[in-house]
Symmetry: C2
Subunit: 164 residues, 2 copies
């Protein structure tokens, strides 16, 4: 399912409003702020980290954790956001308004590096074709240790490893 890639906030927001309308849902201040925060900070948020940021930037709204979760689920269901899963320790969300990419995830510090490779996609398509399989989406994560963490490794006290 392809989403139109909106190039600016206005049209992105408008997409969001339409999605809400189409499902008989309302456009509220909370939903707008969550959406805008995701849009402005082109990053991967845990529900918790998003909650903290929204609290700080919009204390007057007194947003609850539950609303963050509800809005994120809403966005994901309507394909406007995607999440990557971190095992027991939850998920991270990002807006789906940018081109497809995959993730490298540092198991020590949680750093996420985005990448994309046309060559890999091409190989995937070839493999699928050979198996008579029609791909609708794929998931590719490289897990390991980032440069930083490798350099710090010696002086590191054992940290609990990030559960991916």
């Amino acid at each position: 399912m392809k989403s139109k890639k909106s190039v600016n906030y206005k049209s992105s927001l408008s997409d969001f409003k339409n999605a809400l309308k189409q499902n008989g849902l309302k456009f509220t201040k909370q939903r707008e702020v969550v959406f805008k925060t995701l849009y402005d900070n082109d990053a991967h948020f845990t529900p918790e980290s998003l909650y903290v940021l929204v609290k700080k930037t919009h204390p007057e709204l007194n947003v609850g954790m539950a609303t963050i979760y509800r809005t994120l689920n809403l966005l994901e269901e309507s394909k406007m956001a995607t999440s990557i899963s971190f095992g027991v320790s939850g998920k991270k969300f990002e807006l789906a308004n940018k081109p497809h990419h995959d993730h490298m995830i540092c198991q020590s510090c949680g750093l996420i590096i985005e990448f994309s490779s046309e060559e890999i996609e091409k190989l995937q398509n070839e493999i699928a074709l050979k198996n008579n399989f029609e791909i609708t989406s794929h998931l590719l994560q490289l897990r390991g240790i980032c440069k930083q963490c490798r350099e710090n490794q010696t002086k590191n006290k054992k940290r609990e490893s990030i559960d991916i």
Copy 2:
């Protein structure tokens, strides 16, 4: 860290015992049964599904859920098992005694096709290198519709989507 690929149960089990010994851990009936169950059923288990099966096949042991979790974590830490993460709904574990492979998953019928591609792995390594990232593992899933299901598509009643 490469694990030797044991070709039969005896040597696999022996690897397990060694891993235990090296960590000052004991070889118990519970640990043996969990290990053997994973070995005999070449499949992906959730802790829950493994628990249910072990309960059924070895009721005399009266195994507890906690032991399943503890043993799975043990196996994973010693690289004898690997897990793939399934979002909020947890993890699935499999023994690490067979060559690496990835999965194509049919979203209609749940069919899993295993595949592997040296070329993709090579590209992954190149990308990691470029980013100063040291890969310890990766996750690659192609999701879509298998041949069967495409052919049946017209007469198919909607089934609930498979939880990947």
